[in-house]
Amino acid sequence: MKILVVDDEKDVRVLFEQRFRREIRSGELKFSFAYSGEEALTYLHEHFSEVVLILSDINMPGMSGLELLRHIRQDYPVPPPPPTVMMITAYGDQHSYDEAIRLGANDLLTKPVDFAALKEKLHSLSAL
């Protein structure tokens, strides 16, 4: 299962690779990283059919996570089945949640990311 992680923090990559090292080694999960919304769109343009899940931060310089979400939902509205999008935010309040869901996010994770819970979700997704 290919996952695209969008975050302006470059260390996210190292963290994800270490956190999911077993899943990556076993080939269960494959991670790609983009460091901005624009970069993520470019990547999606080329590899859209591969990406099953997008994990995106909301607060990023330039294109925000929510804008990226809107682009994804507008540009790729029809099957092949659209990717699941999970947004990540530091603000775990109702307003952000409603906004993200309204724009078509499947889930909203709060920072700091609870990797145990995320692993659970990914497992259940890949099991589908």
């Binding site: 260390d11 963290l15 270490q18 530091a90 309040d93 109702q94 920072k111 700091p112 990797f115």
Partner: protein, 507 residues
């Protein structure tokens, strides 16, 4: 005067000489002589029918004089009593006339005597008025005439027959007295006029003075009114200024709090991401080390493995310390972030009494769970029929919890100082105000000095030992009440006596 009734023996020859109104009879060769007047004859002829006309007639000029005198010296004004008595000046004349009628003294002396009496009365009156200059002059005017009258009366009384020469002197002195009288009367009149004029002028002056005085008084009053109005205005302005200054201070304080809150939230955001990395990497490092221990290290020879295990467990321990301190920092950051968190809850009509009661008990039992020896009196003065306040009850509850926790902490601290007879008490009062509800949380704990009071609402300000308080409780409370609910949060305290927080929430 002649004695007509005296019997006379007829002499052989008599010389009769006719005077103006007297018949003089002379006995030649002797010194005997008689004078016959009309009166003598009349009296003789009609002794019982005669009323002393001269006496009664003299009343008229006397009364006229009384009248003149009254007018001239203003007797009714100056001596009303004497004035009234003068009105009866005719009485003695009438009495004398009556006596005369009964006893017929039959003499011309009566009217002269009466007139003299009247003059003397006038003199008496004038003398008593001598301070009045015209009266003095009148006195001076009539004195010679009165003197003349006295002399004449005395001459008549003792029947002195003066020599012709002296008789002339008397006559001319009468003329002189009259001229004197008239002259001085005129002088007196002009004096009186002058005096009158002076008096009038004085009166005018007096009137002018009074007018000026009255105007002065009015002016003074106006000035006083104006002054009091100005003073009042100044007072009002001062009050307004004080109010403005207070409001300004409050605004500055609120502004400072708001910007501090924003700053705090901003800092928290900035710190949050790196802190997440610290926590995440330390966690994942622990996992990696465990893998290392279970995997490659397990294959080491026993001698080196022991040393490696030791190093490894130290590393894990260090990483766990990093994680735990990172978590601690994270909780602080979470608290800081509350500042920027827009209130998510809906405002619902809230029963403040119930809320305060609930949180008071919650916080008391929370503290009792940690410190069994702690005891405090909880006093509540809840206003009955308190209006329900539109509020996010969770948030206001949090503020109240904060207040109560602080209050219990303060009384606990004071109790630990071992003061004899100290009874810890926390008191909650609610009050209904016209368009707001007031909550007072008062404790008789350690209190705080002015320097602490000024900073209690600042983020990170705490008097608790490190690790016991984040210093964010009251700054958050301030945010919730002031920004979140449009209310006010104020503090009052006396070191070593009490601390009181006053919350108002608008209806």
């Amino acid at each position: 005067m002649p004695q007509p009734s005296k019997p006379t023996k007829p002499e052989p020859a008599l010389t009769i000489r006719q005077g103006d109104d007297t018949l003089y009879i002379q006995q030649p060769g002797t010194k005997n002589s008689w004078a016959l007047t009309k009166e003598n004859i009349k009296t003789r002829s009609q002794p019982f029918m005669d009323i002393d006309g001269a006496l009664l007639f003299s009343i008229v000029p006397i009364l006229i004089m009384v009248r003149l005198l009254r007018r001239f010296v203003d007797l009714p004004g100056r001596m009303p009593h004497v004035n009234r008595l003068l009105g009866y000046l005719w009485v003695p004349a009438v009495a004398l006339a009556a006596l005369d009628l009964l006893l017929h003294f039959n003499t011309k002396l009566l009217d002269d005597g009466y007139q003299l009496f009247a003059y003397l009365v006038f003199i008496g009156v004038l003398t008593s008025l001598r301070h009045y200059r015209p009266a003095r002059t009148v006195l001076l005017a009539i004195l010679p005439y009165v003197l003349y009258a006295v002399v004449e009366l005395m001459l008549n009384l003792w029947d002195l027959k003066l020599l012709k020469r002296y008789d002339d002197v008397i006559d001319s002195s009468r003329g002189f007295a009259l001229i004197w009288l008239i002259t001085f009367a005129l002088i007196a009149r002009s004096q009186k006029k002058n005096l009158e004029k002076e008096r009038l002028e004085r009166e005018e002056e007096e009137k002018a003075k009074q007018l000026i005085a009255a105007q002065n008084v009015q002016l003074e009053r106006m000035v006083a009114e104006r002054t009091s109005a100005l003073t009042q205005q100044a007072e009002e302005l001062r009050e307004t200024l004080t109010e403005l200054k207070t409001t300004q201070a409050q605004l500055i304080q609120a502004e400072k709090m708001a910007s501090l809150g924003e700053l705090t939230a901003g800092i928290a955001h900035e710190i949050q991401n790196p802190l997440n990395f610290v926590n995440n990497f330390s966690e994942v490092s622990v996992e990696l080390l465990q893998e290392l221990q279970e995997g490659p290290l397990a294959k080491l020879p026993a001698s080196e493995k022991e040393y490696a295990d030791e190093l490894l467990s130290d590393l894990v321990q260090n990483l766990q310390k990093i994680t735990s301190h990172g978590k601690r920092a994270d909780s602080i950051v979470k608290g800081m972030l509350e500042h920027s968190r827009a209130s998510t809850g809906e405002r619902q009509p809230t029963d403040i009494n119930a809320l305060a009661d609930e949180y008071l008990r919650l916080s008391y039992h929370g503290l009792r769970a940690k410190d069994k020896s702690f005891n405090a009196t909880l006093t509540t003065h809840f206003a009955p029929n308190l209006s329900a306040v539109p509020a996010v009850s969770q948030e206001v509850g949090r503020v109240l919890l904060n207040m109560f926790t602080n209050a219990f902490y303060a009384v606990q601290q004071r109790q630990r100082q071992g003061e004899a007879g100290y009874a810890p008490e926390v008191c909650v009062t609610t009050r209904q105000l016209p368009d707001e509800v007031e909550i007072r949380v008062r404790d008789n704990g350690t209190g705080m000095p002015e320097s602490v009071k000024a900073k209690v609402f600042q983020p990170f300000f705490t008097t608790k030992p490190t690790g016991e308080g984040t210093g964010l409780g009251l700054s958050l409370s301030h945010d919730i009440i002031v920004k979140g609910h449009g209310g006010t949060l104020q503090v009052d305290s006396q070191p070593g006596q009490y601390t009181e927080f006053v919350i108002t929430l608008p209806l």
